[in-house]
């Protein structure tokens, strides 16, 4: 007769994940760090950065991200972004190619005003696939040709550029849809009290930062509530960083900064006593 504890252990062993190649994991971590650095460009400096990044990422999730290129007609592709978010406009028909191994993709002449390439890269077999600026995606066999094996991205376009390169090892197969685009950062909103609200961007951080509340609603938290305490000196900062992190419930408001609609959970270093 089995005990419940035995069955739990057996159940966990039975359902244990067959983990992918750790080298792919390292690439994924590097890619994620790179993407985070890109998102943080121009954002608030100092201890607030990490928290603002979390809020910004949550806001990006709240915005639903960008739509994928799909039609042959140039169009505005982004759903209505949160204030301060990016709007991506397609300026040409998308170009789709299937390739094996590293390849340079010819896109054709760039239309006037294009400043980015909107790309959707899908792995069709296992491997690591790197786009021109170094961002990469790692796929297992299970990821091939699936949503988890698809990466959407905005690549900066240099003047005169009409190709883009995908680098991968060996005979890994991939599909790329690339569209000349322009990316415009929208303005933050301003409420009746004169407070800015929206998502952090290259211009900095608004007073009210868009976040997803635990109840699923999208609202705004005061940036000051998301800030980490400011250490008096580097050694104190180090002590805080190595110390325990306290879970903090931050109120989430509508854009008026007064009406509470939920709670956002963040973590804050607990200053040593």
């Amino acid at each position: 007769m089995s005990t419940l504890e035995d069955l739990i252990r057996d159940s966990m062993r039975l359902h244990e994940l067959h983990a992918p190649n750790p080298s792919g994991l390292l690439s994924a971590v590097a890619s994620r760090e790179q993407a985070r650095r890109r998102r943080l460009q121009g954002a608030a400096a100092g201890g607030a950065v990490a928290v603002v990044a979390s809020a910004f990422l949550a806001a990006n999730m709240a915005a639903g991200g960008q739509q994928h290129p799909g039609g042959a007609t140039p169009s505005v592709t982004a759903a209505t972004p949160l204030p301060g978010g990016d709007v991506v406009s397609h300026l040409a028909a998308p170009v789709t190619v299937n390739r094996t191994g590293s390849a340079v993709v010819e896109i054709g002449a760039a239309p006037a005003g294009a400043d980015h390439l909107d790309i959707e890269l899908t792995c069709l077999s296992a491997g690591t696939f790197t786009v021109a600026d170094g961002a990469s995606m790692s796929c297992s066999t299970a990821d091939a040709a699936s949503d988890t094996g698809t990466m959407t991205y905005e690549l900066h376009l240099d003047p005169g550029q009409h190709t883009t390169t995908i680098t991968t090892a060996g005979e890994s197969r991939w599909r790329l849809t690339v569209t000349y685009s322009t990316v415009r950062t929208t303005a933050w909103g301003v409420n009746k009290a004169g407070q800015t609200f929206g998502v952090a961007n290259a211009n900095g951080t608004p007073t009210l930062v868009a976040v997803d509340a635990t109840n699923g609603k999208t609202g705004y938290a005061y940036a000051r509530d998301l800030d980490q305490p400011q250490a008096a000196n580097p050694s104190e900062a180090l002590a805080w960083q190595n110390g325990p992190q306290k879970e903090i419930d931050v109120p989430v408001y509508t854009s008026d900064g007064k009406t509470v609609i939920g709670t956002f959970v963040t973590h804050r270093a607990a200053p040593p006593k």
Partner: protein
Amino acid sequence: VGEQQADFEAFVASRGAALLRFAFMLTHDRGRAEDLVQEALVKVHRRWGRVVAAEQPEAYVRGIVTHEFLSWRRRCSSGETPGVIPSKPVQDPSAAVDERDAVWRALAVLPPRQRAVLVLRFYEDMPDAQIASVLECAVGTVASLASRGLATLRAQSWADRPDTLRTEP
């Protein structure tokens, strides 16, 4: 810095798969597990020098994975009430496998902190004192969470066969 980077890469290469398996136990979802581990590794990468100075860097990273799991659950759900066990899965020819599958499904709908405690206790074989350290709570809280989780599993998974179960002393 180069030495730290090499050390970090060696850690990921040697322990990455184990971390993913652990995260999968928490999430029951491969994609979420990969997200959790990647987020945790991004966080520790920035301060890897201090992490390796700790006596058990892997335990430290597992703690961050656990916090990410609990934090993610709080961000993405409106509550932590136990759900209903999904309808019967595809029948397995083995009754033993069926039982284990029932446990797995019951684990999936436990409140996150109860599930985390059971994973840490039965998958990681952590003593309650260490689990309390990871979750930053009292040992008594760990015992309480485990007890409630086990009671739920027992009630939900074997309500029709109470005589087949006993609990370890």
